[in-house]
């Protein structure tokens, strides 16, 4: 019996598209030159990098000198936040205020928290509403006289909810044009309009491996003239903002992957969204005591995040994995830190509800047949685990009432 494998974890990472890989391959051992070298090997590499910069700039409707290649979204986010605060202190002394949300990716959240702890900034963390969407008014009300920076993700990586970036962009600029607006668009690039002018953002982070490109490469869009400082010392690569030898094959892959979205976005979106809605409806109908986390409408076309009561997510993942279905969970037990998902807690879920969450993220090659099989396996696994857990949760609450 050949075992089926159904990959429903595209928000974690995507496979490299074969066409993308093919374009990358010559830059590993054939055209291996350092893009900073002046000889023709180096210049060939440089041309490939600049072509990719054009492809990325085109996608974001940006200029060439506004695209900085990095090692991925984590680095882009670190550079955006730390770089802006560092540049601020070159001119000012007063402690600046930064606004972000409670359900950002760890690379934003931890960066802001650390800078707050180091007494470099004052920070406000805005909670999303119950549907997983940030209210424009909440951001507006948090703005103070010393606010210099707002950082907010475009699409949440766990629950897939879409944030009103362009509304917030407009509001911020109307309020105080000096405030710098950053969005982590890592989960959005595949599915949503990332025209930086329309979004009204000054900085935008992204990663190649979420869009069928390679791992270890990403980009930061930084508006021309923006006051930002480098955070890593070394060579003068990337307009002096990102020291380190240029990752030519990775960057070529990023350019290739992003240029493919341009042609296919609308078509893929519709197809994936149809499957997503089918998957959500099927789970909620066939599996009792299941619930969708986050807004059903303001949602990425590829994201399903459901909750099963009386089931723990890690054991559910293990069981699904044994049947060839690969997914993800917000359960503490699956995380290295053993703390439950900060995203689901931010939505107001109880800890045991966060433990019972399952994230299924579709890709461009997901089929209806795969969805049908996955639901069958999920249903069977949930039933089995509920049998094992019996009434233990109910009994816990009965005992604690006594």
């Amino acid at each position: 019996m050949t075992k089926k494998t159904i990959y429903l974890d595209h928000a974690a990472t995507t496979p490299i598209d074969k066409k993308v890989l093919k374009e990358m391959i010559p830059y590993f051992s054939q055209n291996f030159g350092n893009a900073s070298s002046l000889h023709s090997f180096g210049q060939e590499a440089d041309q490939a990098v600049e072509k990719a910069r054009m492809q990325v700039a085109k996608y974001f409707n940006a200029n060439l000198n506004e695209i900085i290649f990095t090692s991925g979204a984590t680095e882009s986010n670190n550079l955006a936040i730390k770089g802006v605060v560092k540049a601020y202190y070159k001119k000012e002394k007063k402690k600046p205020h930064v606004i972000t949300t409670t359900f950002e990716h760890h690379c934003v959240l931890e960066t802001v928290k650390k800078m707050e702890k180091e007494n470099l900034i004052e920070a406000t963390f805005i909670n999303p509403k119950k549907d997983g969407v940030i209210s424009v008014a909440d951001i507006k009300n948090a703005i103070k006289s010393n606010t210099i920076f707002v950082s907010m993700m475009y699409v949440n990586n766990e629950i897939g909810t879409v944030q009103p970036i362009s509304e917030i962009g407009k509001m911020i600029k109307k309020n105080n044009a000096k405030i710098i607006f950053h969005t982590d668009a890592t989960q959005a690039v595949n599915y949503f309009d990332c025209n930086v002018e329309k979004l009204g953002v000054d900085l935008l982070s992204m990663s190649a491996h979420k869009i069928y490109g390679p791992k270890g490469v990403g980009a930061l869009y930084a508006k021309f003239g923006l006051n930002i400082a480098k955070i890593q010392d070394g060579g003068a690569q990337e307009f002096g903002l990102r020291a380190g030898t240029i990752n030519t094959p990775g960057i070529v892959g990023l350019g290739s992957a992003i240029s493919m979205i341009n042609d296919q976005r609308t078509k893929n979106n519709m197809q994936i969204q149809k499957l997503r809605d089918y998957l959500i409806a099927k789970i909620l109908k066939e599996i009792p005591d299941s619930r969708l986390n986050g807004s059903k409408i303001k949602r990425s076309p590829n994201n399903v995040n459901v909750n099963f009561s009386r089931v723990e997510g890690e054991s559910l993942l293990m069981m699904l994995s044994q049947e060839g279905v690969f997914a993800s969970t917000g359960s503490a037990c699956s995380s290295g830190s053993l703390s439950p998902s900060h995203v689901l807690l931010a939505l107001g879920l109880k800890p045991e509800e966060t433990h019972g969450s399952l994230r299924l993220t579709l890709g461009k090659n997901t089929t209806k047949k795969e969805i049908d099989y996955a639901v069958k396996v999920i249903k069977g696994s949930v039933e089995k685990l509920r049998k094992v857990s019996g009434n233990v949760l109910r009994d816990f609450y009965l005992n604690n009432k006594k």
């Binding site: 723990e312 037990c333 800890p351 045991e352 433990h355 857990s389 019996g390």
Partner: protein
């Protein structure tokens, strides 16, 4: 990351379920940490009048290692005297499972505690 033995016990747990009219019940864990287990024991006296765990069952809400440790402790404690059962440690359970991932040693390895609670419950009920 899990041993073969853990996966075996997770996939096909032994002694899973409830004992009606148990001699003792032990429950440990809480919803915040994510792992909760409940152990039921039936205690009988053997021919030498020693108190023996005649039957043992569990219900567990938790990760794969929480389920596997629950299953393993029921195997280890069945037909043991209470004194013998009380000597079973978290380490014994982990060893019998051919090891647990380091991060799971504490949080998901509650089965020995749960068994001790069940024995304590039985002894309190039978105090004269």
């Amino acid at each position: 990351m899990y041993s073969k033995k853990v996966l075996e016990h997770f996939t096909r747990p032994h002694n899973q379920g409830v004992i009606k009219n148990p001699s003792g019940v032990g429950m440990v864990g809480n919803p915040t940490c994510g792992d909760m287990m409940k152990i039921y024991i039936k205690v009988k006296k053997d021919s030498k009048k020693r108190e023996v765990i005649n039957d043992i069952k569990f219900e567990t809400l938790g990760c794969a290692s929480a389920i596997a440790t629950s299953s393993m402790i029921t195997d280890l404690a069945k037909n043991k005297t209470l004194e013998e059962a009380l000597k079973i440690t978290r380490n014994d359970v982990a060893e019998a499972l051919e090891g647990l991932p380091p991060i799971k040693m504490h949080c998901s390895n509650l089965a020995a505690d749960s068994l001790r609670e069940a024995i304590k419950d039985y002894r309190e009920k039978n105090k004269k």
